[in-house]
């Protein structure tokens, strides 16, 4: 998606060998025009699938998933990482490893919000090794929901999570595919 790639080049920052900071438009401050366009782009890609629900992970996936939900006109469910007094015990739950944050955490969804009748589009901001995605897929598996597709804003292709899930048969669509970092700059994969 040209608009997102351009925004990454102008406003993203490579802060470590392999960390891209997109705090000024996705992870801390949101650019509503860009993110609405990303939501519409996901809609264009997946609109022929019978999507009934969008699933993402708090925090950074929320705005992007919400924008997609606006176009699909379906509810957007975000899995919770933080302990919540009101979530209760009636949950699907799994563990996710975050390499960026160097810790493991639990993600949960309330059972009543995801069922075997659901056809899910999973959306997230980043796909690197695919650990968060694995957690979201596991929640769908526990609920018996069908996964119709996976929409990612930014894929770090060189970390392998995208290809591994494509090989498993998932329709993984990433709007910006980073092939590598080079002298603090982002090099995108050529269009497929």
């Amino acid at each position: 998606m040209k608009l997102l790639e351009e925004k990454i080049q102008t406003s993203g920052k490579v802060i470590e060998p392999d960390i891209l900071k997109v705090d000024s438009f996705i992870n801390h401050m949101l650019d509503p025009e860009l993110i609405m366009a990303m939501g519409e782009d996901f809609y264009q890609h997946f609109k022929d699938k019978p999507i009934t629900k969008i699933l993402t992970l708090e925090v950074s996936g929320i705005a992007i998933a919400f924008a997609a939900g606006h176009y699909f006109k379906v509810p957007v469910l975000f899995a919770k990482k933080i302990e919540s007094l009101t979530l209760g015990d009636d949950v699907y739950s799994t563990q996710v490893i975050s390499y960026t944050k160097q810790k493991e955490y639990t993600v949960k969804i309330n059972r009543s919000f995801l069922t075997a009748d659901d056809h899910v589009l999973i959306i997230d901001d980043f796909l690197a090794k695919g650990e968060a995605l694995k957690g979201l897929l596991e929640l769908c598996r526990q609920a018996g929901a069908s996964v119709e597709g996976i929409g990612i804003a930014i894929e770090k292709v060189f970390q392998g999570g995208g290809d591994r899930h494509r090989q498993q048969g998932y329709d993984v669509y990433s709007q910006a595919m980073i092939e590598r970092f080079e002298n603090g700059r982002v090099v995108f994969s050529p269009p497929q």
Copy 2:
């Protein structure tokens, strides 16, 4: 806002004497149609103010603030509660007490995203005693930014946070004002 009040009556759940659960459309699953309408309603209320930025608090404020940002066409900044590797030390920061979660936490924003040139609309999902709001106002004070208004989805009027901030001169607009809970049902304040 009629649409939100109706949704609270049909889909909200009063789970303790004074806790309203809106997990099925705001706090865990999002209803994009409702939340976009809430964003537009905030725009109608505050559109004559020179808003340059919307400020909210992760997690539950994000979708509502994003929807408002879509109508205002301004960036949406969400203060962070969670430790973030990429946020760095160049932050404004303050403490917030959560009575619901019975703990105190730190909220932070990157200094570069809020400045003395900003005219801020603060948006949040709930206003009870006003502790989270106090934290967001403190971040604006540290940045020297002007607070043009405060938009709240659900105000628990009986907990006093709204009135205290109105008395301080803030333009606080709440879309649904809960006067009290009665036998597990919500009673709204009469329209002003």
